[in-house]
């Protein structure tokens, strides 16, 4: 199998071929989602635990659906209802859950490196569903899938990632994947929401939204965490919208052949205007559907590693 990993910890560890392999696998699962019978019996033997230490609606449901469509048994753990509230450490929780002999772990946590930490402690596959500001590989894979559906390939595409790059795991995984697949990536944000050393990514960046959007084929608009204002990164949400919000006027700068993406949940009227969010060139709901297929592909591929 041209996929050499037991876990999916981040796109940084994958080659271009491995990314494309997962996108190809997802295509088959995507077609299953269009059938009347959306479930396959493939992974009846598999028990997956979804460890969600951060609030999440769509990613958690997307993973759960993907697991159920593959007929896996699913255990959900969320920090707000568990013994974490009684002060149990991550280490103890993880040790206990692993002692119950699950076959696969999906984890979201606010700490960078939590998936690596869990992978060091256990022999079962670990899927990163978002680790702090670092990576969100399944989100990036579903974004890549959505772009490929529209454009067929990546070479020469101008892809703008707009918004809070500094704190965004979606941006980091996307940058890595897009670079590997040959797209021209441009990051755009106010200077304080770019990383202090934006050169580390090896892609273009600018604080000028009009320059960024001109002739772009894809704009992926990131959610602005509303607390960034209090932390002193931006003066106000109003000013953010005025200078970095995706308005319909600015959307006209895009190449005639373009799509508008957003990983959700949206702050309409902040990073994206309501009319843009609901326009026909946005693919936000397609992203969500593709997300289930991508997660089925990832789980299926890693499950194959267990039996193989």
């Amino acid at each position: 199998m041209p996929f050499e990993h037991d876990s999916l910890l981040g796109l940084t560890y994958l080659t271009a071929d491995e990314i494309l392999y997962l996108l190809d696998e997802a295509k088959a699962f995507r077609s299953i989602l269009e059938r009347d019978l959306k479930k396959v019996p493939t992974l009846r033997w598999l028990t997956v635990v979804n460890l969600f230490y951060e609030p999440s609606t769509r990613t958690r449901i997307s993973f759960e659906l993907a697991e159920k469509r593959l007929s896996a048994d699913v255990v959900n753990f969320s920090a707000s209802t568990s013994s974490v509230r009684k002060g149990e450490s991550l280490r103890d929780t993880v040790d206990n859950i692993l002692a119950m002999k699950v076959d696969m772990v999906v984890v979201r946590h606010s700490s960078v490196g939590t998936p690596q930490y869990i992978a060091r402690k256990c022999k079962v596959p670990v899927i990163n569903a978002g680790d702090g500001t670092n990576e969100h590989p399944t989100q990036a894979l579903l974004d890549l899938y959505t772009i490929r559906e529209k454009f067929g390939q990546f070479n020469g595409l101008k892809v703008v990632i707009l918004g809070d790059i500094r704190h965004s795991r979606v941006a980091r995984s996307n940058i890595d994947g897009l670079k590997k697949l040959g797209a021209n990536v441009v990051l755009c944000a106010p200077r304080t929401l770019l990383p202090p050393n934006p050169n580390v990514f090896g892609v273009d960046y600018t604080t000028d939204i009009e320059e960024a959007l001109s002739g772009a084929n894809v704009v992926n608009v990131l959610r602005l965490q509303l607390e960034r204002q209090k932390a002193g990164y931006i003066p106000s949400l109003r000013e953010y919208r005025m200078f970095w919000g995706l308005t319909s006027r600015r959307a006209k700068l895009l190449d005639s052949d373009h799509i508008i993406m957003h990983p959700g949940p949206m702050n309409r009227g902040v990073e994206i205007d309501p009319d843009v969010a609901d326009a026909k060139d946005t693919v936000i709901l397609e992203q969500v559907t593709n997300g289930v297929a991508i997660r089925m592909a990832v789980i299926f591929t890693l499950a194959g590693k267990i039996k193989g």
Binding site: L90, R91, H109, S111, T114, N134, P196, V200
Partner: protein, 426 residues
């Protein structure tokens, strides 16, 4: 106790100007003579050909965790770790629970050190409860026997307090040891602000959090007088600032740890965010380690200190940002520096002894750092050929939080003698 003759060892005692193969005679708790002409009857003779004899090493930066966090370490276990690493004296930091911020707590440390394998020297807090608000009773603390003053673990953010602390400590003739990290600039910081922090989005701690505090304290030193010692330098830029202050004739000294000389932020990423690479100040870049290494050789850096910071497994075995900062160091420092600096010709054995024994003894004004006859027989016998691998089972420390586990080192303390008594032998 019979006299002991250490025969044919290579004695390195820069304070006495000795760097040669010679015998050394120990009688009771003191050094009797070097190259003795006659030896008493019943003298026990140990042939240590091929080994080095150093004045016992001095660590001026140990966290012994007693009182209050004895599950991490205590004075006895820290002293055993020290002895195993070739140290005969350690200065223990004041950030215990409660902190060593009164004279009776200084006395408590001395009482507890009765069970210790090596000399224990308490460092007193600068401020009450390490809060950085009001001066602790520094004169009383000094009278009880504190050898230095430090709020280590915390910076002294309040410039007025720092100014007064320097002036007040000056009349007591005690140095102030400072942990230079601007607490606002460094807030929530996990690692160096640089390549890895931008790549991962982890909050970085810029070099300027260190340099701005060092520059401020040098200015305050001009205002107040006193003796300033900068702890655990991590950044190349700090070296230049300190070098200029020394050229200006200010009373300033500084230390570096083995980990800031040997590790970089890259290890945080390549280890998959292993918290044994989490420390304060954070690991910086290769450039920083290179500049600091040059300063080690050229004399700008006075001391190699361990910042021995034991933490229990449950405090380190966590995702990176949820883990405690710091690593243990007493049992690895000498061998790391020997393997990576002395063996490679970057510093001489004599310079190593200055950095790890002579200078810290001088800064703390304690009776150590030389093998002159009449002094306590505090001696480290070092085998430069012994090859060993750092492994957690062998640590004497109660904690195992070391990023050097698995490292192959060449050179090891094989015997540590404190006041004439062999406290460690391997």
């Amino acid at each position: 106790m019979p006299a002991i003759l250490l025969k044919n060892g290579h004695i390195v005692d820069p304070a006495a100007g000795i760097d040669k193969v010679a015998d050394i005679l120990i009688d009771g708790d003191a050094i009797e003579s070097i190259a003795p002409e006659k030896i008493p009857k019943d003298t026990e003779i140990m042939d240590i050909s091929g080994k080095y004899v150093f004045p016992g090493l001095v660590d001026m930066h140990t966290h012994a965790r007693e009182p209050g966090q004895e599950y991490k370490e205590d004075i006895e276990s820290a002293s055993q770790a020290a002895a195993a690493g070739g140290y005969t004296s350690i200065a223990v930091m004041a950030n215990t629970v409660p902190p060593i911020d009164t004279a009776d707590k200084v006395s408590f440390i001395y009482e507890r050190s009765a069970a210790a394998a090596v000399w224990i020297y308490p460092v007193g807090a600068v401020s009450k409860n390490l809060e950085g608000k009001e001066l602790a009773e520094l004169a009383d603390i000094a009278q009880a026997g504190a050898v230095a003053l430090s709020d280590d673990g915390f910076p002294i953010a309040n410039s007025e307090l720092m100014r007064n602390a320097l002036a007040y400590a000056d009349q007591l003739d005690l140095p102030i040891l400072v942990h230079e990290i601007d607490p606002i600039l460094a807030a929530d910081g996990q690692i160096n602000e640089g390549r890895i922090s931008s790549l991962t989005g982890m909050k970085g701690i810029p070099v300027q959090a260190e340099t701005s505090m060092i520059a401020r304290d040098i200015d305050l030193l001009k205002l107040s007088g006193g003796k300033l010692h900068i702890q655990h330098i991590s950044a190349a830029e700090s070296i230049g600032i300190i070098r200029r202050a020394k050229e200006d004739g200010l009373s300033i000294t500084c230390e570096v740890t083995p980990h800031h000389l040997l590790l970089t932020e890259e290890e945080v990423l390549s280890s998959g965010f292993d918290s044994n690479f989490k420390m304060m100040p954070p690991l910086r870049t290769k450039h920083d380690t290179e500049v600091i290494a040059e300063a080690l050789a050229d004399g700008t850096i006075d001391v190699i200190a361990t910042d021995h910071a034991p933490h229990a497994l449950h405090e380190k075995d966590n995702p990176f940002d949820l883990s405690a900062s710091g690593i243990i160091g007493l049992e690895t420092a000498l061998a790391l520096i020997w393997t990576h600096f002395v063996s490679k010709g970057k510093i001489s054995p004599s310079r190593l002894v200055e950095l790890m024994s002579v200078n810290p003894a001088k800064i703390l004004d304690i009776p150590a750092g030389t093998l002159k006859p009449g002094n306590y027989a505090d001696i480290t016998i070092f085998d430069p050929e012994r090859e060993w691998t750092v492994s957690p089972e062998k640590f004497f420390s109660k904690s195992q939080n070391s990023p050097f586990i698995g490292w192959k080192l060449k050179g090891k303390a094989i015997m540590t003698i404190v006041a004439g008594e062999i406290v460690f032998r391997d």
